[in-house]
């Protein structure tokens, strides 16, 4: 429940009276409409189960939202909320509580793979069923049409909220995935005392560059690093912006008292940088990661000595 509450808060729709009023104004929902909708209350109340069944049967037949039908309790909850919806729709109390119910239902759809077009298709079926019944029960076609149009305003009010939530949920998922990719791809590793490796893989954009610099600077302080080997073998393309980001990272590391060696510049990247006219004069580079590590170790005063030159590497001490 608490999770539900926080999700409601975090959705893109601010749950304020002003926002609810704004949305009502957008669909032009007037007092006249509300009095027309109230007259439909009994008809909808009698037929609620049929409408709900029609809505979900249509969804099921489409086969576009299997996750919703996979679990009995999920489907039951969705149906219960839909019944609630139909009752609330004709109760004509379009307030914060109503909007909250709509958002909760949209979140349920979003969690179980009901996409925006699928939802719209099913909603249209529901409206059609409602419209047919209104035409049947009201004698004067003009009057019936007016009542249906009033109901349609509420339907569009609902659709506005539902699609906003569905879209913002999708964006949220994408953002989460991007965050995960960012987190994954910028480890800072210590290989020796005072020596860090920073392998960079994939695209570097401004945000990632900032995060990368941030992570590196914190690691430099935490590990008391004096040398950093930055390996960009995994960076496919370097443009002036990326080069600038790297130069800034190197300058920031230097301010913290650490020297950076850049390794793994491919032939293409090197040519591109020269063509761009990026000033890499102040940056020390070596061809590959091995060369960079050897250079860094030398600068830190390490000497790597093989145990026994004549017999090759010793496997036991």
């Amino acid at each position: 429940m608490l999770d539900q509450q926080s999700r409601l808060q975090s959705s893109s729709i601010p749950l304020t009276e002003a926002e609810v009023d704004r949305r009502k104004r957008i669909v032009d929902l007037s007092g006249e409409d509300i009095s027309r909708i109230v007259t439909l209350r009994n008809m909808v109340a009698e037929q609620t189960d049929r409408y709900v069944d029609a809505f979900f049967r249509y969804l099921d037949d489409l086969g576009e939202a299997p996750a919703l039908f996979g679990k009995r309790e999920v489907l039951e909850e969705a149906k219960r909320r839909k019944r609630e919806h139909l009752a609330a729709m004709t109760a004509a109390q379009y307030d914060r509580g109503y909007v909250e119910q709509r958002i909760a239902l949209a979140l349920l759809y979003s969690r179980h793979g009901v996409s925006t077009p699928v939802f719209l298709g099913a909603f249209h079926q529901l409206l059609r069923a409602l419209g047919n019944d209104i035409m049947k029960s009201v004698k004067d076609p003009n009057d019936a049409f007016q009542r249906f149009m009033s109901l349609k305003k509420v339907a569009f009010f609902d659709i506005g909220i539902m699609t906003d939530v569905l879209i913002s949920e999708r964006e949220r998922t994408i953002n989460l995935q991007q965050d995960a990719i960012r987190e994954l791809s910028t480890p800072v590793l210590q290989v020796r005392e005072g020596l860090l490796i920073l392998p960079i893989i994939g695209m570097i954009d401004s945000q990632r560059a900032k995060q990368l610099t941030d992570g590196l600077l914190r690691s430099i302080r935490a590990n008391r690093a004096r040398m950093v080997v930055m390996d960009i073998t995994g960076v496919a393309a370097v443009d002036s912006k990326v080069a600038n980001h790297l130069i800034q990272t190197i300058a920031a590391a230097r301010l913290m008292g650490s020297t950076v060696i850049v390794t793994g510049l491919s032939a293409d990247v090197a040519q591109a940088l020269v063509a761009l006219g990026v000033d890499l004069g102040k940056i020390s580079t070596t061809g590959d990661l091995q060369g960079g590590l050897e250079e860094a170790e030398r600068m830190l005063g390490y000497r790597v000595v093989r145990g026994n030159e004549t017999t090759g590497p010793r496997l036991s001490a």
């Binding site: 610099t213 600077l217 430099i220 800034q248 920031a252």
Partner: protein, 124 residues
């Protein structure tokens, strides 16, 4: 508030406290230039670890101190720039080129002290 300068052997240590005024910095510059001659110091270490902001004036003054110190026969090392400060400085283009920097006072002094092979470990 004036910035205290401590003497330890051939080393002068200035420790900047939070948010020094421009006047404090200028005073530090003058005092350091004076004291280097007086104590025949070889190394000046300026600790900025307490600062959470380094503006362009502070950076320029530190650069000035480093250059003046060099002319007076001593080497300057700036120690303890915090990660956030470093990042902000780089964004502003304040990179302190040509001036020694180190993680903290310990590291800075280790780097500046003469090595057995003649040079300082700062000569890389």
């Amino acid at each position: 508030m004036a910035i205290p300068i401590l003497k330890q052997g051939a080393v002068l240590i200035a420790s900047l406290q939070a948010a020094p005024t421009d006047r404090d910095l200028i005073q530090l510059k003058d005092e350091l230039a004076d004291k280097i001659g007086h104590f025949r110091s070889r190394i000046v270490a300026i600790d900025v670890s307490a600062l959470d902001v380094m503006d362009s004036f502070a950076t320029r003054t530190l650069r000035g101190i480093a250059h003046a110190t060099k002319l007076r026969g001593a080497n300057t090392v700036i120690v303890g720039i915090q990660p956030d400060v470093a990042f902000a400085m780089v964004q502003l283009g304040l990179t302190l080129d040509g001036i020694e920097t180190a993680l903290d006072l310990d590291e800075g002094l280790a780097r500046m002290r003469p090595q057995p092979d003649g040079g300082t470990s700062g000569d890389r």
